[in-house]
């Protein structure tokens, strides 16, 4: 096997394309959208037009026909500018589209994928409940069979993309019985917005990702047909674990991009800001901070791309995805924190992007597996 430390030209082209788009279309509006807590339909559509949704879905299903490395580079490049838009894209792909692509019936794929891949519609992925976060198996939302239909009751919380003006529906994980040992059995249902008894309400006043849509869902006697079952009844838990493995790659990409954006801002500022008669980057204390930031980012990037490469090669990547998510989200925290420090007082003001990066990174150690849960996943994988 050969080792290659150079991305191929296609991946570089993806990076250049997304960077150009993000610099020209996202950067000018990111601060204002996030300040107003406004989810932007037009920006989401634009991201859809250049193909940021359905990146790994084959073309015959409406997708872009690219690989995981391409997708992850795209998320990284958006996050380098803005965490909120990166969240819309990462959740749209990894949580909304992917389960339908990997587990959906052909009919479900044909019904939902084309518009999801165009960015004309979004789909949420509803796992977390008020009393079931890290302990996802403890979810209380239930679905009971009624003839050919299912009746769902319960609630979900913190669901990304579930209440935007273009949300088509949300994949709801519900308990549908128990196995022979009494362990709950889960099934995922695609519940469309507008179904009687189903409501998704935006959750406001977030610390971070304020231009990304987060929703609270309530299900009260929601009747869906058996066509709404994602794949097979009883497969829900397995589908969720696999979706989270892949989703972690995209959260890692958000951490990497956030760190890169914060680092670039800090480097530029340090070269421009003069104190004691010279740029602060000439103070060893500051330059060493920047050197550490650059080193952490390089390590994070190399490791994340390797995890994606494993996914593209259809090799096991769950442990690597957990490590990449944990590492990238933690260095995002360290880098964003030092970036604010390097900006001094200005770093605490909204005129400077590092203020936003500093807040946006905070979710990354919590969503899709907290740092603690990921350490549990990794320690199990290494045989503890």
């Amino acid at each position: 096997m050969s080792l290659s430390y150079q991305l191929d030209e296609k991946h570089e082209m993806v990076r250049a394309a997304v960077r150009e788009f993000a610099e020209c279309e996202i950067r000018p509006v990111a601060g204002a959208l996030e300040e107003k807590e406004a989810f932007s339909v037009s920006l989401t559509r634009q991201m859809g037009e250049i193909g940021l949704f359905g990146m790994i879905v084959p073309e015959h299903l409406g997708g872009q026909g690219l690989d995981y490395v391409s997708y992850i580079i795209a998320v990284e490049e958006i996050a380098r500018i803005d965490g909120s838009q990166a969240a819309t894209v990462a959740a749209g792909n990894s949580l909304g589209l992917s389960p339908i692509y990997y587990f959906g019936t052909l009919e479900q794929q044909q019904r939902y994928l084309p518009e999801l891949c165009r960015g004309d519609a979004l789909m949420g992925f509803g796992l977390t409940e008020a009393n079931a976060g890290s302990d996802a198996g403890a979810s209380k939302t239930r679905a009971v069979k009624d003839g050919d239909d299912w009746i769902l009751n319960g609630s979900k919380i913190f669901i990304t993309n579930a209440a935007t003006p273009i949300t088509r529906g949300t994949i709801i994980q519900a308990v549908t019985g128990s196995d022979s040992r009494g362990k709950p059995e889960h099934t995922c249902f695609v519940v469309e917005n507008g179904t009687p008894g189903y409501t998704a309400t935006p959750m406001k006043h977030k610390l971070m990702w304020r231009a990304s849509n987060t929703a609270e869902i309530s299900l009260s006697d929601v009747r869906v047909s058996r066509d709404a079952v994602l794949g097979q009844p009883g497969d829900g838990f397995k589908q969720m674990l696999s979706t989270l493995d892949r989703g972690r790659l995209s959260i890692a990409a958000m951490g990497l991009g956030c760190a890169q954006g914060a680092y670039e801002a800090a480097l530029k500022y340090a070269n421009e800001r003069v104190q004691f008669g010279r740029p602060i980057s000439k103070q060893q204390v500051i330059s060493f901070k920047l050197a550490d930031m650059a080193m952490k980012i390089e390590l994070a990037r190399n490791f994340l791309y390797r995890a994606c490469w494993l996914a593209d090669q259809h090799q096991p990547f769950g442990k690597e995805a957990a490590m990449a998510k944990l590492y990238c989200s933690e260095i995002a925290k360290e880098v964003a924190d030092e970036a604010v420090q390097i900006h001094g007082g200005y770093g605490l003001m909204k005129e400077y992007d590092v203020e936003r990066f500093y807040r946006d990174q905070r979710l990354l150690q919590i969503g899709e597996g907290t740092s603690e849960v990921l350490r549990m996943v990794i320690s199990r994988a290494i045989g503890c």
Binding site: M13, A16, A17, F21, E49, I50, G51, Q64, L66
Partner: protein
Amino acid sequence: MHIVVTIKQVPDTNEVRIDKKTGTLIREGVPAIMNPEDKHALEAALCIREELGDVKVTVLSMGPPQAGNTLMEALCLGADEAFLACDKAFAGADTLATAYTLAMALKKIAPVDLVLCGSQAIDGDTAQVGPQIAECLGIPQITYAERIKASEKSVEVESGFGAVRRRVSADLPALVTVGKAINRPRYKTMKGIAAAFRDKGVQLLTSQDIKVNPGRIGLTGSPTSVKKTFVPELGRAGRIIDGGPETLSLGIIHTLEAENLLPKS
């Protein structure tokens, strides 16, 4: 209909610095990009294809092997085919030799109905190559297009020159040079990138392939000799006008008059 867009790979002048001693661009480490106006020319070609339907868009460049990256970008944006005239013998070309080589390459990939060029390149900046290609091919040329309306047989072009607007048409084949005002180039799409790297590629043309007269290419075919390149000294001395409101306003008016900056009454 067959449209060929000529595309030059240039250093990103936003990032380029000039060597004060030699007066030349410091190219090391500077990213190479598609000449901005050529992006507008390509966009114009893609729009014509979308409007007329049965149109093939080819891109053509002369340059070193790495210029292939820029042609790949054009393919990602939607061009159907790409040719790179690439040969050591082409090196050192001035605008005349460049235009001759491109014209011969165009003959090789004929029949061509419409050639679109950028008006000028951001590094060489002469705006000569387009018109010279038209002369080499003996076809009509229309420059500085701000609007193009093409049909199967002819092309109508509108250009703006300050207060004057010009509208001319020409029978095809013809060559049109394009300015930035004409359109807003699209972004590369993920699908376009996937398709370009899967289905398309850059075809190389050597001096043999395009049957050039060896005396008219590269350094040998370049009559221009550059005597000196230098950075003009831009003095930016501020002038302070002192005094009360009256002296101050008169002072400003006199200064502007002296610099010819006020309309004569």
